[in-house]
Amino acid sequence: MWTVVILAGIATFAMRLSFIALFGRVSVPPSVERALKYIAPSVLAAITLPALLTPDNAFDAWNFYVPAAILGGLAAWKTRSIGAAIVVGLPSLWLLQWLFG
């Protein structure tokens, strides 16, 4: 366990430092810089959608996470705030579980 934790810690730090350390030493082509803009939406969607649609490691589009997350996402979109998603989404899930669970 200790070995895994320490090696994973070193590897994770190296990945975090990688490009931060490289920038300024090598110049970045504009096409690459343009692509960087799409990292945030791509990664976030690639984290969020599987988390919602494959609970318990099996595809299931009809689970309570989906409507509760849509409500939370709408709240975040309307208010431009992340806290709103939690304040709306989590009670929505509780309500759905209580009504239909």
Binding site: M15, R16, A21, S42, A46, G73, A76, W77
Partner: protein, 230 residues
């Protein structure tokens, strides 16, 4: 966090991550509870919070080793899960070009989904942004402190937190909100749709590779679709 200001203050960094801490805190508790219940050395699990400082990979290590998995599998899984840090590093690097090596190391150590996302959201253009460092360190240290406290608390409290609260749902909810805020234009929307659905289609791949496959497909789709919307 919708208003973009020209100033970079650590208090703004702290106040922008404050709502995110609402989901980091339960995530930290869940990790602590999982680690305390697992058949792994408690001290090593606890120390992973500041040695690795990346929740999803920490949970993966504990779960794999608890299930009797090989150490090498746990290590490779953790590295693959954290490979998205390469992408964040590539973007954050634009903000830290002219800083010292020591500062770069500190920026790298505190680099997380949330710290990167709030910073790139408030200061979308590194060319016009002031030094983002005070803001970034405010956000990063707020997250770091919360993570250390809540993972410790989770290990101490253990099973006292009922699972019926579904606190684990706070994690996808936060990412949902970050996603909504990260979509700034039509190519960004295309990137998100492609990235999300490719990741769902690839979810059965081992080592969480679906995340990376989806993310790469999303970035490619965003770049390609720029031409359509011009």
């Amino acid at each position: 966090m919708s208003n973009t200001t020209a100033e970079s203050r650590w208090v703004d960094g702290v106040s922008d991550v404050a709502p995110i801490l609402l989901s980091v805190a339960p995530f930290g508790l869940i990790f602590g509870v999982t680690a305390a219940a697992a058949d792994v050395p408690a001290l090593a699990a606890w120390a992973s919070s500041f040695i690795i400082f990346a929740g999803a990979s920490q949970i993966a290590i504990v779960e794999i080793l608890d299930g009797g998995g090989a150490a090498l599998v746990a290590l490779v899984t953790a590295i693959v899960i954290n490979a998205r840090m390469l992408m964040y590093s590539a973007d954050m690097g634009r903000y830290t070009v002219s800083t010292s090596g020591r500062t770069k190391a500190a920026v790298a150590y505190l680099l997380t989904d949330q710290a990167y996302l709030v910073t790139s959201h408030r200061f979308p253009d590194p060319k016009t942004a002031p030094s983002v460092l005070p803001y970034y360190f405010g956000a990063g240290l707020g997250l770091w402190t919360t993570w250390q406290i809540t993972t410790t608390l989770g290990m101490v409290l253990g099973a006292a937190i009922p699972s019926s609260w579904s606190l684990e749902f706070a994690i996808p909810l936060t990412f949902m909100a970050l996603l909504v805020l990260a979509i700034r234009d039509k190519p960004g929307l295309v990137a998100a749709i492609v990235g999300g659905f490719v990741a769902v289609a690839a979810f059965a791949l081992p080592y969480n590779l679906g995340l990376l496959v989806g993310a790469c497909a999303g970035v490619a789709a965003g770049v390609i679709s720029e031409r359509w919307f011009r």
